[in-house]
Every structure is written in structure tokens, then in C-alpha cells.
Symmetry: C2
């Protein structure tokens, strides 16, 4: 005996998701059995919808259901500052902070020679043409502090050096609330190097 | 800006699954974006199917797409031995071992006075009537070694004491490959109590 066919199929689908092993897939599939009808409909439909409706924004390459995403359409946002991220989900993370009022540019990858991913495989050309077209004044590179992230940051900063645009990088250092004892050496070195002077403004 | 509506819905559905937090739900929903069309169809349909087709076997209460599950229908299996499990998934686990050739009985719960679950809330009546009807000779209790599991085992064994049926319990002890240093005290005590004599059959 094995699971009935519909459960077996569902387990197989859950297993295709990242980080889901066989035991977890079984647990998730059996949990679906207890869902209400309306949740079942929503779950089933949104899987289809995501596949049918989601496309890439023609301006910034972010995920959207329209031709141009809501950020690119929003005229109240500062188009002179672009935050360059690796993946769409990073931009949604920045949106959760809520303080960034510029726009985004999604590379959809990082340069990684070892994996055969070169500058042509990520969305850099689109970025360069946006600098000219959209009168961009600052490009903030918000890529992860890995070899690939650093390589990509370096490549983009060199590429944009001829243009009249400021290129910056988000700060790397010790995260708030972290115990300094458990921070890796590289982060500690970076934090030391990027130290900031404390200005005691006694006069005010 | 937030995720497009279809992605947001999908994240919400994944979040309803046990053990899936917000970050994981986001990761899973974005992973669905990269699925092939046929996987999308299978995923979407099996969620609906599980809800529509799966019911309880009228004999053993296991999950099935038919009125009577494949084990109960299988005449090559030994109907005189019943393995009593808490949940349907436990029976599928026993099936993976492959050596058990009896049939199952799914309680769908354990007696737990603290949670207000009494003997009437689990599938015990059906078990008692099966003993008479199906000429059962042995009932193996395969419940988890918790207070609820032990209470339920005790309740069932007392209930069946008047009947002409052998009631046994699966062995608890040190799992194979485990380091004895890391075994909890209760398991160790049980393992000591349930020790088995080693018989050196010198003559053969």
C-alpha cells in the first residue's frame, strides 16, 4: 500500500520545492487535507495564477502582473536614485523597511565565472540605458557580500565610472543585536575598516 | 509596493501550512514561479483532488480514494492481525518497511483528557466491532510513547481484555545507530526493563 494517488502527487509537488524533504512533503500534503474549501480554491488558483500572470517589469525587471511595476509607475518616488538588487525578493524586503523612496533595478543574478554566468547573463545593459534615459544621479548597489556580489558590484561601478552618476554600496558590518564574539572574521575586518567617526557636537 | 496579488495569495496559502514561517513561505512561492507548466498543473490539480477525492476507509478509517482502502480489500493480507495507529501517515510508514502483512486500524487521535479528547472522540468503537466481525486474533498497539499514547494503549488493552484476542505493544528502546550517551533517561529505563535474554544456542 502507498498513499492514494492524489496525495502521492501532492507530496511529489511539495518535494520539488527548495528545502522540502520527503518527511516534510508528507506532512504538508496531509495538512492540505484539513484546509477549508475556500483555502483550497485560493491555493490551487494562486499556483496557476502565479504561473500565468507574473511577468518581468519592462523598466526595472522586477516581478509584476502589469507591463510596468507599481514602483516604476509611482510618480511620487524619486527616480534619480536606483537601488540595484540581485533578485526581486530583495526589493520587497527593502519595501518592508519603508524608508527607501527611490526606485529599483533587478539584476536577476550575479556575475559568477565559476558557474559560467558573465555580465551578459545578468540585467546590466538595461541598467546602463536607464542611467541615461531616466536622469539617474545615484546607484546604490545592494548585493550580498559574497565573492559573486563583490565581483558584480566592482563590474557595475567600473562600467558606470564614465557616466555622471554616484555609485554607492550598502554598508557591511556587525548587525544590530549580534554578539561580537560570534561574528565571522571577514565581517569584523570589514566593520573595522568601514569605521565611522563619532562626532560629539558639544556646541549644540 | 508589495508582492503582486497572485504571489501574495500564494505566500498566504503556504503560511497556513505547519512549520512554514513568512520567509519560507516567500521562498516557496517564488520557487513556484520557476516550475514547468506541467508541474504547475499537477500541483494545482492535486490540491483540489486531495480535497475532493480523499475520504476515510469505511473499515479501517485510513485515507483512501475508494470506499474501502487497498489494504482492507487485499485478500492476501492477514486479517487476523490488526496494527492500531494514531494517524493514517503512521500506517504508510509501516508499509514502507514492507514486512507487516496484517491490516491496520486508524484511531485518528489519542485519548488526551487535558485537551478534552476522550475515548468517544477516537475511533475505538469501530475497532471493537472489527474484533468480533473479522475474527481478529492479535491487536498490535503502535502508538507513540507519550502520556497520551500510553493512556490510549492502556484503555484499549483493558477494553479488549474480555475478548479472546492477544493485545501487544511495539517495543520501545534504544534506536539502532543511536549513541547511548544521548538517549533520554525514560527511554534508557524502558530499554533496561524490557531487556531480552541473549540465547547462545551452542548446540546448533
Amino acid at each position: 500500500m502507498n498513499y492514494p494517488k492524489s496525495i502521492k502527487n501532492l507530496i511529489e509537488c511539495f518535494r520539488k520545492l527548495p528545502g522540502i524533504g520527503e518527511k516534510t512533503a508528507e506532512r504538508l500534503a496531509l495538512a492540505v487535507l484539513n484546509f477549508d474549501d475556500n483555502v483550497i480554491d485560493m491555493f490551487s488558483n494562486s499556483i496557476k495564477d502565479v504561473n500565468l500572470k507574473i511577468k518581468r517589469c519592462s523598466v526595472c525587471n522586477n516581478l509584476t502582473e502589469d507591463d510596468v511595476c507599481s514602483v516604476c509607475r509611482d510618480e511620487s518616488r524619486d527616480g534619480s536614485v536606483l537601488c540595484v538588487v540581485e533578485e526581486a525578493k530583495n526589493s520587497f524586503l527593502f519595501e518592508k523597511i519603508g524608508s527607501f523612496r527611490g526606485k529599483y533595478h533587478v539584476l536577476n543574478g550575479l556575475i559568477s565565472p565559476l558557474d559560467g554566468i558573465g555580465p551578459d547573463d545578468i540585467n546590466v545593459d538595461m541598467l546602463v540605458s536607464r542611467i541615461d534615459k531616466e536622469n539617474v544621479k545615484e546607484v546604490i548597489l545592494a548585493l550580498k557580500p559574497s565573492i559573486e556580489g563583490e565581483t558584480t558590484s566592482l563590474y557595475i561601478s567600473k562600467l558606470l565610472s564614465s557616466k555622471n552618476v554616484k555609485v554607492s554600496k550598502i554598508a557591511h558590518g556587525i548587525p544590530l543585536g549580534a554578539d561580537i564574539d560570534y561574528i565571522d572574521m571577514l565581517t569584523l575586518e570589514m566593520a573595522l575598516e568601514d569605521r565611522k567617526e563619532i562626532i560629539n557636537d558639544v556646541k549644540n
